[in-house]
Symmetry: C2
Subunit: 175 residues, 2 copies
């Protein structure tokens, strides 16, 4: 009898460090841990669901040097933002494909902590995996924490994975 | 090449509901989820490390009807507490044995949240699994939360698993 695969939702986002659409250190680490330590070679037992939440306000800062002269300029901006998210998902989908684990990936817009919990309620994964910067108490006050919120509110088990010490950037709030 | 198994530490404790040394609803659920959704049939890929933290103060309440007349009475009490923890671990070890996944189990004494984090630092598991009552904000103020502390402070990825709605006892603080 073929058992249903364990459906693992991994929330991924972009790095705040570079201008390019690289995955963040913490989401890349969470994804790689999941494949290496949980999926291992049992690829047919798992399905990876990749969710990227596109934060509109944050991306707005990328556009401060742009000139908006027509409605089309805004359309271009939206296209550019969209392709940024797609590029990010492509990175993770390629990795899944390379090791032969099935996956699905999609983009939603909004506040990451709210959207992640909404998508968990809608998609009903067996597990939600979140990368975390692993900041101390003091930093958390200022930068907020998606993982803390989701551990409390997501309607499924939540796996929180901190960055390795040797991957931590000089500015702890960066990722 | 034989790869090292993924070492999963599961913190287990006793139910607060019955007088008998049954596992708590949340730690039983966390353990069963781990076997069903992560280990699945890949038993040789995982090793389960079972940690029971014996809370000395809390158990003291069981002894209010006892009469202590000699040092031996206290020794008996300690033996009784010790065997309670052993009975609990036996439950989980038997389950691991039945499905053929290797395991180790041990008891430590102290404050669960501190001892769990200390044991993570000492044993270096790949993952820590914790059951959670999944209480709301208001209840948490009064009963405290081990999982919230460990998500922040444990030096390894942490998987938090809430009780199912249909397993929740009438007194939410019970487990």
């Amino acid at each position: 009898m073929e058992r249903e695969p364990t459906r693992v939702m991994v929330a991924v986002n972009e790095s705040t460090i570079k201008g390019k659409p690289h995955p963040s250190i913490s989401s890349k680490r969470a994804f790689e841990w999941t494949l290496e330590k949980m999926v291992r070679s049992n690829t047919s037992d798992f399905k990876i669901l990749l969710l990227h939440v596109h934060v509109v306000d944050e991306d707005g800062f990328d556009e401060v040097d742009s000139i908006y002269a027509s409605p089309d300029d805004f359309k271009d901006m939206r296209e550019s933002n969209k392709s940024k998210g797609l590029h990010l998902l492509e990175f993770f989908v390629n990795k899944c494909h390379a090791i032969g684990v099935s996956c699905e990936a999609w983009i939603k817009k909004g506040d990451p902590k709210d959207v992640i919990c909404q998508e968990v309620s809608r998609v009903r994964p067996d597990l939600l995996v979140l990368g975390s910067r692993g900041l101390g108490r003091f930093q958390k006050v200022f930068v907020g924490t998606v993982s803390g919120f989701c551990v409390k509110h997501a309607e499924c088990p939540v796996l929180t994975i901190k960055r390795n010490a040797d991957e931590t950037p000089s500015d702890l709030a960066d990722d």
